[in-house]
Amino acid sequence: MDFLRPAAWEEALAAKAAHPTAVPIAGGTDVMVEINFDHRRPAHLLDLTRIGELHEWDEDGPDIRLGAAVPYARILDELRTPLPGLALAAHTVGSPQIRNRGSVGGNLGAASPAGDSHPPLLAAGAVVEAESVRGTRLIPVEEFYTGVKRNALAPDELIRAVRVRKATGPQQFSKVGTRNAMVIAVCALGIALHPDSRTVRTGIGSAAPTPVRARAAEDFLASVLDEEGLWESGRPIAPSAVRQFAELCSGACNPIDDVRGSARYRRHAVGVMARRTLGWVWQTYTRGEGEARCA
């Protein structure tokens, strides 16, 4: 196994072009496990730890441009306000040691349906910045996941950054596991209110071959909020509408029975999480609106 250690981004792209099967590695929290368990034996590892820019984030207009290798620990420390959903999810990743090493770029690269960052990225409407010697592609995150542990990257592409719109409304993330910390999701759900565009977005993890949005649920809720003028009034959403939203989220699932949980449970739990998180974001939104109105 050859260990490639590019010192700069262009060198990394050149190395990936020269060795398209090279496996990029940054924190190593996924890749090293697979290597240790002999699940994969790549001919080349492409070490990205020397490329400083991947470990930084900055503001780019309305977006946060998050370097692919920014560890979860920093997301939850530094980006809680602009990226609340992702910060909540980051806090549920592994242990403190894993959060110091693991990153969103790795989660995207692995494209496991159980990756904790996928639901909040879907809910926030993130865009993946994929790059190769051929140029840059901006891939909306919902188009990024193409199958179980498969993504839209071309063999010569690397993830440089993720662009996530700074939150304009409340976001929540909720994940079911069978212990209270350090657990892989049985299923997970992210929700984000986007009052600026009067939309609601969702992301569901571990309940389908890929992370998915519950588009029918989003559309339904957006129309309820619109038609009943709730964005403006801040009145409570009718319980029947909340129930319908939750059922549509459950309906967006296509789960399997596995050692972590049954398909039936996953569908059920996604519905419960959808109902609860909608309650939380709406409460935050109306409280915020209330304050705005008082001010």
């Binding site: 368990f37 929540q172 079911v176 212990r179 209270n180 910390a181 350090m182 892989i184 050692v259 569908r267």
Partner: protein
């Protein structure tokens, strides 16, 4: 057998660093800071790495095995299969039924088939993958029905073990009935009868330091093995015949052990590493990774239990019947002894005059099961405590009061006919846990209104802010035997030396006790300080140059090896006083008339007068003694009735569990697990508390998360990793207030009672009782999963 009652104790109990003090363990800081050297850290400049090729099937015939390609791999020094074994080809703790390497048939997923030694672990792994095994898969036996079905394949044909003649089917390892009184005669008198069927999943010991060791071939044709194990001499007894060597040519030294909990009582890589070392003439290191570790040791027996309890309307237990089916997996391991425990402790710490119990262990193609903390008593306790709650509910009685009413006390008669002849404060333990203040309700609520999710089910996963969260409280109590039972010659050996070193009297304690994290070395030093009145005690590394110390299991080490250290210290003390009298006896009349003690490095009278210093007494001479020490003998259970003085001591613990359950998502937060336990005498109170909290947490794991999931169709293990075999993290571990009783057992050294296992028993049923109270569900299986709580 020598009679050594605590009245033999003449030493003062206030000696600094002696018994009763919470002296700190020597390995504690090293382990916390990552500096402790575990067996996996062993290294030899010249060493090769050994790996094991394991079966991907649960039951298959090996049609052919091709090793040529593996052997031709550069860097490979040896490939061994069954055909290469030099001597005995099978071993086992109780029954020699386990192949060293598969002999034509594999009987469980992960069974060792071949070994490779190479100059790099990666080379060895790749070579192992080049071994060609042609398997013909066979139908699998997975439960009692398939094990005893007409025409079921017999997994171990031609059995010659002692249990073979009396088992009803050759796929049953052992069967133990316990019959007392006359159940059928009293059934009519029962006003209330409850029945229940219960199931306990397969728990893993999940010790953190995987199986590892280093075998170094010696010039005399023997081998030195440095090894993480639980019982050096039991390993030795099994390894030497496999190597075809006399036991004195196999020298074993305990290496750093990262936990055991029963999982190191059977051999794992011990014989394999030695075989490779002797074949190659090079030191060979073997270290399992986490995945392999799940296949490398036995697990807790999964069990199916059917109970019937009858009681009067006043709440007096009339009779209990139980049938306990333990899945022993492919090989016997300690299944017979687990059966004996499950049967004899099946009723729990209650007075019941009419009992009809049957326990069996099966041979199946599931992973082999054997010793794990609680050893048969855990499975029974989950069932009988569920029954006690069910009965209390049927009677309209408070579950604690109902238990207290039927609780055994000293003098009670066990279903085996054995009289409990030391304190059995079962009712008092229950009273104490119930009397502890309850943790405040709704602890997640803060003044600011935001929920503290760490106090809620789901924790940081943020699944509830209080929605659908219901509190439940549950109680349980259990009974566990201490030490090896049923007539086993359970002894320990100690060698103690006292000498003057650098102007100070120093004691050296040498035993073969495996320190696996239980704190035995700390306690041995405390005992030596107490008995010899010295400040400095050196604990010699544990090895086979001294006699057996028995297993670090069955809550027995402080009792038995501690007892041996105490006994041998007493012999040394007598020798020292003899020497002192010979040297100084004429100088002072007290030498002849007073009772003499060793205190603070001096010989003193019981009146406190100093007669001589130990350094002066020992002047250039070391005093040494070695002896075996035994607890009083036990007797086998009668094969038909189970009657007999089977256990040397019982230990009792009670728990109260407080849980918050998210009833909609089926997630559980255990808020508090209060425990009261009688320990006879706490030799090291800090260690005692640690044992109780550790056992309690392991029981919590079984209640809500820990299970090796075996596919019911293929008998393959589905979750051999810490990703999917979950053990409690610190966020899952509740506050564990501990109330320790010290009611001396006059038969035991210092009156102590084995501590390590009892808290593991009652923790599980207490948690489940609390979840039942919160949800109203019957919950007859552990671990409880979200699916069970949500009907999904």
């Amino acid at each position: 057998m020598r009679d050594l009652t605590p009245t033999g104790l003449t030493q003062a109990s206030g000696i600094k660093g002696g018994i009763g003090e919470s002296t700190l363990r020597p390995d504690g800081t090293l382990k916390v800071t990552g500096e402790f050297a575990y067996a996996s850290d062993l290294w030899h400049e010249d060493m090769l790495w050994g790996v094991t090729l394991r079966s991907p099937h649960a039951h298959a015939r090996i049609r052919s095995l091709g090793v040529a390609e593996a052997l031709a791999t550069p860097g490979v020094h040896a490939v061994l299969t069954h055909a290469d074994l030099p001597a005995a080809t099978r071993y086992g703790l109780e029954i020699e039924d386990t192949p060293v390497l598969a002999d034509g048939v594999v009987r469980h997923h992960g069974e060792p088939v071949a070994l490779v030694a190479a100059d790099h672990p990666e080379t060895a792994r790749r070579a192992a993958a080049k071994i060609h095994v042609d398997y013909e898969t066979l139908p699998v036996i997975t439960d009692e029905a398939s094990a005893t079905a007409p025409g079921a394949p017999v997994l171990h044909p031609g059995r010659t073990d002692e249990h073979a003649p009396h088992v009803p089917h050759p796929n049953i390892v052992h069967r133990q009935p316990i019959v007392r009184g006359d159940v059928s005669a009293v059934k009519d008198r029962a006003d209330v009868i409850v029945t229940g069927e219960y199931e306990v999943g397969m728990q893993d010991q999940a010790f953190l330091g995987p199986e590892s060791g280093l075998a170094v071939p010696a010039e005399d044709g023997g081998v030195d093995l440095y090894i993480a194990t639980q019982w050096l001499h039991a390993d030795l007894r099994q390894i030497a015949p496999v190597l075809g060597l006399p036991e004195d040519k196999v020298r074993m030294t305990l290496s750093g052990v990262g936990g055991a909990f029963g999982g190191r009582e059977d051999l794992s890589m011990q014989a394999h590493a030695c075989l490779l070392a002797l074949r190659t003439g090079r030191p060979v290191k073997m270290v399992y990774n986490r995945f392999e570790s799940f296949f490398g040791h036995v697990h807790r027996h999964p069990a199916k239990l059917r109970y019937e309890h009858g009681a009067t309307r006043d709440g007096d237990l009339l009779y209990v019947t139980a049938r306990i089916v333990l899945d022993g997996g492919a090989y016997a391991s300690s299944s017979p002894a687990v059966v004996g425990n499950a049967a004899s402790l099946a009723v729990g710490p209650y007075v019941v005059d009419h009992v009809d119990v049957e326990a069996i262990a099966l041979y199946t193609n599931n992973p082999p099961c054997g010793a794990m903390r609680g050893f048969g008593a855990v499975q029974a306790c989950f069932a009988y405590e569920a029954q006690m709650d069910k009965l209390a509910a049927a009677l309209g009685m408070d579950p604690v009061e109902f238990r207290r009413r039927n609780a055994m006390a000293q003098g009670a008669v066990m279903p085996t006919g054995q009289v409990v002849d030391s304190p059995a404060p079962v009712a008092e333990l229950l009273r104490r846990v119930k009397a502890m203040p309850l943790p405040p309700a709704r602890q997640w609520e803060s003044a600011g209104g935001a929920a503290d999710v760490r106090a809620l089910p789901g924790g940081l996963s943020n699944t509830t802010h209080g929605e659908s969260v219901v509190r439940g409280v549950g109680y349980a109590v259990g009974i566990k035997n201490v030490g090896f039972s049923e007539g086993f010659d359970d002894y320990s050996t100690a060698r103690v030396r006292l000498e003057a070193v650098g102007g100070e009297a120093v004691a050296t304690v040498h035993t073969a006790m495996a320190e696996v994290g239980q704190g035995g070395v700390t306690v041995h030093a405390q005992i030596a300080r107490t008995e010899l009145g010295v400040a400095r005690v050196t604990i010699h590394p544990a090895d086979t140059r001294v006699g057996s110390a028995g297993s670090t299991s069955a809550s027995r080490q402080t009792y038995v090896t501690g007892g041996a250290v105490k006994h041998v210290c007493e012999l040394v003390r007598e020798k020292v006083l003899e020497l002192a009298r010979a040297r100084f006896g004429t100088y002072h009349p007290a030498w002849a008339t007073a009772e003499l003690l060793l205190e603070d490095g001096k010989v003193v009278t019981d009146g406190g007068e100093v007669l001589a210093t130990l350094v002066d007494v020992l002047e250039g001479e070391a005093v040494e003694a070695e002896d075996e020490w035994r607890h009083r003998p036990t007797r086998p259970f009668d094969r038909r009735t189970g009657q007999g003085f089977g256990h040397v001591q019982y230990s009792f613990a009670a728990h109260r569990a407080v849980v918050e359950v998210d009833t909609e998502l089926g997630l559980v937060k255990v808020v508090e697990l209060a425990c009261a336990q009688d320990v006879g005498k706490a030799l090291n109170p800090l260690s005692v508390t640690g044992q109780i909290q550790g056992g309690t947490t392991q029981g919590l794991g079984l209640a809500v998360m820990e299970e090796i999931v075996v596919d019911p169709v293929t008998a393959k293990v589905r979750n051999p990793s810490f990703t999917d075999y979950l053990i409690p993290t610190i966020l899952d571990t509740p506050a564990i207030p501990v109330d320790v009783l010290e009611l001396a057992d006059d038969h035991a050294p210092y009156g102590l009672r084995g501590v390590g296992e009892a808290p593991t028993l009652s923790s599980t049923p207490a948690v489940v009782a609390a979840i039942r109270q919160a949800t109203g569900l019957a919950l007859t299986r552990v671990p409880v999963r979200p699916e069970h709580l949500t009907g999904t």
